[in-house]
Symmetry: C2
């Protein structure tokens, strides 16, 4: 184990009464029980929510850590995948919380990737009008992005993350060693969200990612450590500046307007979220070029990066109407304003709310003619 991996680092997310720490330390999964002593007066009941893929790998270790610290642990195991991020699964979690009779001060712990974290956070926000929750992210995507910042949600059949809450965790507990069991495809999808910080606000990090991509997808400890630390620092800074996405935080949605449409049109079962975001980011880059905001060449620079990461770069073919509908464009045009995040440069993004549907049609057509 290298020097870098053995050091614990803590980023503090300062949000007044909703403040919390992001604790990053290889191997720390076994120490959560002990750490919870700082957050709770005494151990009582808690529930770990995970999924059928992660639970067999890490539930027992987490249980051991919690039980040695005196916690009475219940479990709730979900199916694996974005397509289960539904109101039905939310109901399933609520049933489990009711059965376990968790009271208002007893925490739930999300052990899993973005889907488990988003659903656990939303369930925690509304069970008894809010109980504490802790994020233990087990995917690259969750460790570099979704576990920090309190965006929780489930999907609606017609739109991703349409039902949710801004609800901050009490602690984010990041053990990069659990990534060693992750499918390579999941690793790559997570790397797309890390690249995003480079594209939005850190050109130097984007260049560094390009130079270290092979090591990154190989889970080289030092490279991975730098990716997680840099990403968590950026995410924490953005969330502290704009917790409920009134402005700055919206930039983190780069690639997401198109990406969510891709996920929705393919029923959340073809692409991983990070893969859809990668393709969506290429579309946002091309749109930025088409509209004259960015110099030609930005899209191709990003494409090279994603190809090196082994991410899909061929935007799926759907009719322009399907895209516009999936992105929530209102045919009646009653106050319809879709938010696109566009690029001026690598490292410089901005929010555009007045992109004409015709510009989107032209963008979509540019793909249809290629494929």
């Amino acid at each position: 184990m290298s020097e870098t991996r053995s050091v614990a680092q803590v980023y503090h997310v300062e949000l007044g009464p909703r403040s919390y720490d992001i604790h990053i330390e290889p191997g720390c999964l076994d120490d959560l029980g002990q750490a919870m002593g700082k957050l709770f007066a005494s151990p009582t009941r808690c529930m770990v929510i995970s999924n059928v893929t992660i639970a067999p790998l890490y539930m027992q270790r987490l249980r051991d850590s919690l039980e040695s610290a005196g916690w009475h642990v219940s479990e709730c195991i979900l199916a694996d995948g974005e397509r289960y991020k539904t109101i039905e699964t939310l109901g399933f979690i609520m049933d489990a919380l009711m059965d376990a009779k968790l009271s208002r001060n007893e925490p739930v712990i999300a052990l899993g990737g973005g889907v488990v974290g988003d659903m656990t956070g939303f369930a925690a926000s509304c069970y008894r009008r809010g109980i504490p929750f802790i994020q233990v992210p087990t995917t690259v995507l969750a460790q570099v992005d979704s576990s920090v910042g309190g965006k929780t949600a489930i999907n609606h059949p017609h739109g991703k993350n349409m039902i949710g809450a801004f609800y901050q965790p009490k602690l984010v507990w990041v053990d990069s060693m659990v990534l060693n069991t992750l499918e390579p495809r999941e690793v790559k999808a997570g790397i797309a969200e890390a690249v995003k910080y480079g594209l939005i606000r850190d050109a130097v990090f984007f260049d560094w990612m390009n130079s270290n991509m092979a090591a990154a997808i190989d889970l080289d400890a030092d490279v991975l450590s730098k990716i997680i630390h840099t990403s968590c620092r950026h995410k924490a800074e953005v969330v502290m500046a704009d917790e409920t996405e009134q402005g700055l935080r919206a930039l983190l949605n780069l690639g997401h307007t198109f990406g969510h449409a891709i996920e929705s049109m393919t029923h959340y079962s073809t692409y991983l979220h990070g893969e859809a975001v990668a393709m969506g980011t290429l579309m946002a880059a091309r749109l930025s070029e088409q509209l004259g905001f960015a110099e030609p060449g930005i899209e191709s620079q990003i494409r090279v990066c994603y190809e090196a990461a082994g991410l899909p770069v061929d935007v799926p073919a759907f009719h322009a109407d399907a895209w516009l509908d999936a992105m929530g464009h209102d045919k009646k045009n009653v106050g319809s304003r879709i938010r696109y995040i566009l690029l001026r440069n690598i490292g410089e993004a901005f929010l555009a709310e007045n992109v004409a549907p015709d510009a989107i049609r032209q963008l979509i057509d540019s793909y249809q003619s290629v494929h």
Copy 2:
């Protein structure tokens, strides 16, 4: 129309960025569209959520008011009754919001009683992680209690209001004249929640209610006006002091621990919420006497008041185990703490967290031996 009814009065609920007004004025239903000009930069889309009983009576007037002010109005009409306050109905509202393509800044308006207000508020809290909402309460219960304070929720089959959020409205718009079409039974149930303020913190108001009960259930304008104003003032004061129920606000749950159990055991279809709260309050009073916190006679004083209001006072017969289970007592006794609100006197309530299950059994038995 008497002098009292024609005067508008506004109570301000000061909660920092979540502050809002309670506007009380007979006939004001027709003025909401105009009033919304103060809250929104320009009229866009909105959705009115109501139920099959209220919509035929008041939807058109509200629509007219909104449309004259330039709003584009969608409707979502729910079934009527506490037993529809479910996750399924929440899904139905979400479908309607998605179909109407409401954006993050466009409001929903709850036109109805407590069930419509609770569900609309919760839907508003989680649709796109929160959109503005406005309360237009149409029952006594909603006007004196549930429309103020931001407690929103749906029921779980095993517990009332178990899934929800603290989410404040942007405005509470109270027109007492809409109460003229209310079923007498609904009027009486609402009066039980008004009596509650007297029992908890205003003995003078309790005495005044006793002296004016006949006029109150007759909807005498002056008496009704005083009831609404006094109740809203008390509710606003309590909510400002303790928005998320860390202490003081819990006292407003007088009668609710037992009342919710009654509603749950009868599947939300036998009693109105206010009726269950009345019976629950009698139980809390008797328990207060049994435990020696209150002098004998308090229960009977309250019973006389409820009888004058035509409220049910005969606690339904269920086995003590069913009561304890419905109230969430954990048989394993792992950190189980049920909160009971008890009385020392008329006008003086307090929170008791360490009531032994045996005391509850004894209380339940005292009813079984009577019936």
